[in-house]
Symmetry: C2
Subunit: 206 residues, 2 copies
DNA sequence: GCTCGAAAATGAACAATGTTCAAGAAGAAT
DNA sequence: ATTCTTCTTGAACATTGTTCATTTTCGAGC
């Protein structure tokens, strides 16, 4: 028994529809926000019944969580593409890339971070783990800049720094009042990273 | 016509019930999360009909937003109580107090930051403004530590720093996996603030 | 090609929950 | 006491997540 993509026509069709449902759900979340995502809308747009959505994903949270999983995967891919020649540039690049990605897919990221499960079922561990792994991408450049530091502490520092950047960005993009221009936020982030690195004893080179 | 708390018995009763509804809603959000808040539960617990809740708050979002408004007010009060003798201690105190408050009222804070309006009606400006005002509480101590800096830049720095602290805390308290102990987070935050201040050219004194 | 059985799809019915509103109750004004 | 205003009620409605008995689909074995 092959657990990846079976080859029978039936399975291919099933798989195509699964992808289609996800694409539609992602589109709705991205354009109108998680709160506007409705089973019936998804089913109708996918040309199938609501039952089929449930058949494929168990419950509606299942659809959302799958979209969220793919969001963090896409984010990780984007972050992994940041050049690693110079660790200083890499750190700035990771922050700037996160900002870009967040600005482009604000509603998807909000779905990732803000979705709460029904009752008080726990958010799936694997997604939280993927987020933490993405945030750990600052670890290697930090290690190169601070080769004598305790590795465990650097791992923590990596998450802390990325979480800080996340806070600045997610709140910075929140304000529809003055509509903080992304360019402004970009400067803010760069400055913040420089200050943090300076505090760690690393001289900025920009 | 007096626009504050009228004195007639009718108005007093109305006002009492308003408070009661808010207290109940807050209790449910705090203990079981925003997603578990239901109009009927609130109405039943308050001993009134669902219609009365709507009569008082317009719609259900109105209840949530009022609770959120009171949450940020309580937060501001707590933060304003941080001693201001020494600006360095004050900054650490603000961060530590935010952590305490967040740990104590995690679900209320999540409701404040994560609630999205129906359709895509904008989140009320006054609440966002109150949050920003709370985050501006780092401005005075920063001004004392950096008296020669540009005031506008310091205002921005205040929001940036507080947003960063928010990110570290809100993500730090998220992980039900390893259950980051608050004491650990406390150290993380202190270290972070020290590093940031060092980067700004301010020597830590702890 | 036909038959049969397993798997999937369907969508009507159900359940949970936000929202409205006509009718009635309660209180204020005279 | 009567009238008028305002508030309250809760049944009815609207929306949306969920279930499941029935039907359809499709591949395997003959």
């Amino acid at each position: 028994m092959n657990n990846v993509q079976e080859e029978s026509p039936r399975d291919r069709k099933k798989f195509r529809r699964r992808l289609q449902i996800l694409e539609i759900a992602r589109g709705i979340i991205a354009s109108k926000g998680l709160r506007s995502l409705k089973v019936r809308d998804v089913a109708e747009a996918a040309g199938c019944s609501v039952g089929s959505v449930y058949n494929e994903f168990g419950d509606f949270d299942g659809v959302i969580l799958t979209v969220n999983r793919e969001t963090v995967q896409a984010l990780t891919t984007r972050l992994a593409g940041v050049p690693a020649e110079d660790p200083l540039h890499q750190l700035h690049g990771l922050a700037a890339t996160y900002l870009e990605f967040f600005a482009e897919h604000a509603n998807l990221l909000r779905s990732l971070f803000e979705h709460r499960m029904e009752d008080d079922r726990p958010y799936p561990d694997d997604i939280l783990q993927m987020v933490m792994d993405a945030f750990a991408l600052m670890h290697p450049p930090l290690l190169r800049l601070l080769p004598d530091a305790d590795d465990v502490k650097l791992a923590l520092l990596s998450r802390t720094l990325f979480s800080a950047v996340h806070g600045i960005i997610s709140l910075g993009l929140e304000e529809r009042m003055v509509a903080v221009p992304p360019q402004m936020l970009r400067q803010q982030i760069d400055q913040f990273v420089d200050t943090q690195l300076a505090g760690l004893g690393i001289l900025p080179v920009r």
